[in-house]
Each structure stands twice: as structure tokens, then as C-alpha cells.
Amino acid sequence: EPEVTQTPSHQVTQMGQEVILRCVPISNHLYFYWYRQILGQKVEFLVSFYNNEISEKSEIFDDQFSVERPDGSNFTLKIRSTKLEDSAMYFCATSIGRDRINQPQHFGDGTRLSIL
């Protein structure tokens, strides 16, 4: 079964540094999402991306965050200047499209981001 692939699995970074989290979507999927999960808490929506632009973003997704699909395959999340509270598990999810509503969003294994 096709999978969403995320790298790295674990990223440790000093506060104030930039990080880039990478995701390779399932090949025929058109909608891409980033979610985060702070340890022990629920999963929170960050941003959705379709047709090379942001569809929607949450309050969490401030000016320090950006997303892009630089080469048509990878889908990246960049945090420009990390803060301690950015420590979380970040999940990439993809879906085939709104007309296939019986299909769930498929999640990658996540990147655990630890800010020191």
C-alpha cells in the first residue's frame, strides 16, 4: 500500500535555528497537510496546501512557518526561528481529493522535533 514518507524521523535543534521537515506524498494525491501533536495532547491542524498554494492555515501557523513543494515531489514545512514550544511531533498527511470523500487522509510516521 502506498505510504506517506517523512524525513527525518527525529530532529534535535537549538532554539532560534531553522528547521525543514520533509514529506513525500502518495503519488496521485493532490491535497497536502501538516499537523502537529504536542506530547500527550491531541493532533492540531497547521496548514493545507493544494495546487501549489496554501488553502488554509491555523493560528499556530504564523510568520515563522512556511510550506512549499519545491520539486513537485517533496512537500516541506520550514520553521524559520524555532522556539521551545515548537517541540512536537509533526505529521504530514495527504489525500486524493475532495471528490473522493470516502478516502481518509493518510498520515506519515511523523517527525519528532525537539528544541533545546
Partner: protein, 110 residues
């Protein structure tokens, strides 16, 4: 703003017993998903519920949706240890983003 609540938050149950997890949401939605998450792992899709009265079953798990009551249930029948995990419901709002419930941490003991 769409809000999703689950209860209970924690559930410790004996093998062989039955129990139900509840998921309430605050505004109209046409899709509800149930996901399973093992510790430190990703989210595995269990069920997609699309319409009022929808019922789906997989093994010892059965999910249902009542859109009028804005309620979904996940029923566990004759629990086994392998079902120990955290279960999330997630509702699709006006856009495609998923709004997750608080999660129910299930622990099944002998």
C-alpha cells in the same frame, strides 16, 4: 468554530469486556473519521463515516454516526490486549482540515 470532544479520556478495561467511546462535535459535518495511534507512532485510519446512520465494523470495533445528534460512537466488543492504543475521532469542517478530538487512551489488561 468546530469543536470535537471525546469521552472518556482514559479507559482501562479487562479483556473480554465491552465498552463504547463517544465523540461529540459542535457543528454540521459530512464526514467523520476514526484513527488509531500506538505510542510514538503515526495515525492509522480505522473508519470513514459519511452519512447519518452509517455503521462500519472491522473485527472487534464498530463505529456509527448520528449526524442529527452530532455524535459518533466506537464500540469495542470483547476487548483484547492488542486493542490497547489511543483512539481519535476527527471531523471534517467546511474545508478539508481535520479537527481532532481529545483522544481516548485505551488500556486492555488480562
Amino acid at each position: 468554530e468546530l469543536k470535537v470532544e471525546q469521552n472518556p479520556l482514559f479507559l482501562s478495561m479487562q479483556e473480554g469486556k465491552n465498552y463504547t467511546i463517544y465523540c461529540n462535535y459542535s457543528t454540521t459535518s459530512d464526514r467523520l473519521y476514526w484513527y488509531r495511534q500506538d505510542p510514538g507512532k503515526s495515525l492509522e485510519s480505522l473508519f470513514v463515516l459519511l452519512s447519518n446512520g452509517a455503521v462500519k465494523q472491522e473485527g472487534r470495533l464498530m463505529a456509527s454516526l448520528d449526524t442529527k445528534a452530532r455524535l459518533s460512537t466506537l464500540h469495542i466488543t470483547a476487548a483484547v490486549h492488542d486493542l490497547s492504543a489511543t483512539y481519535f475521532c476527527a471531523v471534517v469542517g467546511y474545508t478539508d482540515k481535520l479537527i481532532f478530538g481529545t483522544g481516548t487512551r485505551l488500556q486492555v489488561f488480562p
